[in-house]
């Protein structure tokens, strides 16, 4: 059963991945970057590119130029020795070295599980998305064994910070806590308690009385 589910999940993943790839290809076919750049003789000393709609005159990275991160002339290599293809493939964490070069302190925080969010991993793990409390979805970890978990950073830098405008964009809040259902009525509780006490007293007392009655009759 588990195998079937795994296969299904894998297929689903493949479908969504290829769908994403198709969407990018249809848009403008950015990859591989060399396709256009080889003839352009780019230097990367610009602060904005109209073609790519990247503008480094605004945002927290407004002091930088393209070549601070993209290695000219092809631009597909990034500083730190990674290729932008990792982004295309979805290996976002590989791009962390790009940011690590300048944000050394934050990167160390990140490696030490202080910056960025963390996730747990376990053996034979399957993550399922459940729609739960107030229809908010949640990724449930289903493991074969829950007794050996470990913690790793959950996301790469570029998943939270767009490199060209790195401040995090806040998410909308979820609905506020609802009213809790009221506790049972106090008077009901009081009367029930009283009833219970009285009836238990009766249970204790009645046999004695009956005993006495019997004894009395016998005595007479």
């Amino acid at each position: 059963m588990r195998m079937i589910m795994l296969v299904m999940l894998a297929i689903l993943g493949l479908i969504s991945a290829s769908a994403a790839a198709v969407a990018v290809a249809e848009e403008e076919e950015l990859y591989p970057c060399e396709k256009c750049h080889l003839k352009l003789k780019l230097t990367g000393m610009k602060k904005a590119s109209v073609y790519h709609a990247v503008n480094l005159t605004i945002g927290a990275h407004k002091g930088l130029v393209c070549a601070d991160c993209h290695v000219p002339p092809t631009m597909s290599e990034l500083v730190g020795g990674v290729n932008i293809v990792s982004f295309y493939k979805g290996d976002y964490k590989e791009l962390n070295v790009v940011c690590a070069g300048c944000h050394e302190k934050t990167y160390r925080d990140y490696v030490n599980l202080v910056h960025g969010n963390k996730t747990i991993v376990c053996e034979g793990e399957v993550k399922v998305l459940v729609k739960g409390y107030k229809n908010v979805s949640y990724w449930l970890h289903l493991c074969q064994d829950y007794t050996s978990l470990s913690v790793v950073p959950a996301k790469g830098c570029v998943e939270c910070h767009t490199p060209h405008n790195p401040h995090y964009k806040p998410l909308a809040p979820l609905p506020p806590p609802s009213r809790r259902p009221p506790p049972p009525d106090q008077s009901v509780i009081a009367y029930t308690t009283l009833g219970v006490i009285i009836s238990s007293l009766m249970l204790i007392v009645v046999p004695f009385v009956v005993e006495l009655e019997k004894g009395g009759r016998r005595g007479r």
């Binding site: 459940v130 949640y138 007794t147 470990s150 806040p170 909308a172 506020p176």
Partner: protein
């Protein structure tokens, strides 16, 4: 002759001294027994290494019980939706996966959490994840984590904070998530008349749901309002059940007991992080072992320094707040 007498005298003296010393000790011991009472060895040792054998047994029983309940619910689902439906298959798989653990505290571990108030955007995702992870009754609307929106003014007030804001993050508000503080000095533990709640050696304050009598003294004693009483039987749909359970943590509760955050004991005792830490979209929460010099929490304490809430209550909380290097959300320029 004289020598002989003297020797005899000395002998007699020694015997007398030793004798009275023994008598002295014997008498004193009897007197002492009145003052110092002997301890029952068996009772003492079994209390020290409660060894979780009691809990392991109970966990096993609970697991069987839960599996039975789960299978019944799943059978109901299958009848409704059909044997081959996705829900039916999933429910059965979830029932199989149920595991009730009784993992004890690891030696030399002391857990603590810290929250970066410069990062928190008040989105409440932690509160929701907590409900899902800890098998909270969906009918009771109990959320172990509350996010306070406190206005940034000259004298911020916890009392005047907002719980039910609809818009966040607002520029002039700081968001403070609160839950059980796992105090070093927990008032709730002191007032419990049946010892149903206590602080474990790894710093987690737990509740034994089987021992709790529902008197709610602890709720009155807690300065943070972090404990909740379930007035009815919690209802958890099988398809939303978290199969990873701990007998002192997120095992579905019986009605009329007090419950609260346990630092996700079912995850952290086995090396994980709590669900709120995992789900936080900004990574504002940091969790770790205070005794481990390389742990994230130590890094936060050493680099940024930490603060606590209501420390004047003498509780000595282990849920810290800190102000990380990021600019608070409202001060960031160039927002899109």
């Amino acid at each position: 002759m004289v020598d002989e007498t003297r020797r005899n005298l000395i002998k007699a003296g020694v015997v007398a001294v030793v004798g009275s010393a023994i008598g002295f000790i014997a008498v004193k011991r009897e007197k002492l027994m009145e003052l110092l009472k002997p301890v029952d060895k068996v009772e003492l040792l079994s209390a020290i290494d409660r060894e979780y054998s009691v809990y392991a047994e109970r966990a096993k029983k609970k697991e069987a019980e839960l599996k039975r309940w789960c299978m019944e619910e799943a059978a109901k689902l299958c009848r409704e939706r059909g044997e081959e439906s996705v829900e039916c298959v999933e429910a059965k798989r979830r029932c199989d996966a149920i595991q009730v653990k009784a993992t004890g505290p690891r030696k030399g571990v002391r857990f603590a959490m810290a929250i970066d108030l410069n990062k928190c955007i008040g989105c409440r995702r932690c509160a929701y994840a907590c409900v899902m992870e800890n098998n909270q009754g969906r009918n009771l609307n109990i959320e172990w984590i509350k996010v306070l929106g406190v206005e940034r003014k000259e004298f911020p007030e916890i009392l005047g904070s907002q719980l039910d804001y609809e818009m966040a993050p607002l520029p002039d508000t700081v968001y403070i998530p609160i839950s059980c503080m796992h105090c070093e000095n927990p008032p709730c533990v002191m007032v419990c008349p049946v010892r149903a709640t206590w602080k474990e050696s790894d710093g987690i304050v737990v509740v034994d749901y089987d021992r709790c009598i529902g008197c709610r003294y602890c709720i009155a004693a807690c300065p943070y309002g972090a404990r909740y009483f379930n007035w009815a039987k919690p209802v958890v749909p099988v398809l939303e059940l978290n199969p990873n359970m701990h007998i002192l943590g997120n095992v579905p509760r019986v009605p009329h007991v007090v419950e609260k955050c346990t630092f996700c004991i079912q995850r952290t005792r086995d090396g994980g992080v709590p669900a709120c830490v995992e789900v936080c979209p900004v990574g504002a929460r940091v969790f770790g072992d205070l005794n481990d010099p390389n742990s994230p929490i130590r890094r936060v304490i050493e680099r940024y320094g930490v603060y606590t809430l209501k420390s004047e209550a003498g509780t000595n909380p282990r849920l810290f707040y800190f102000f990380g290097p990021s600019k608070p959300v409202h001060k960031q320029e160039g927002r899109r």
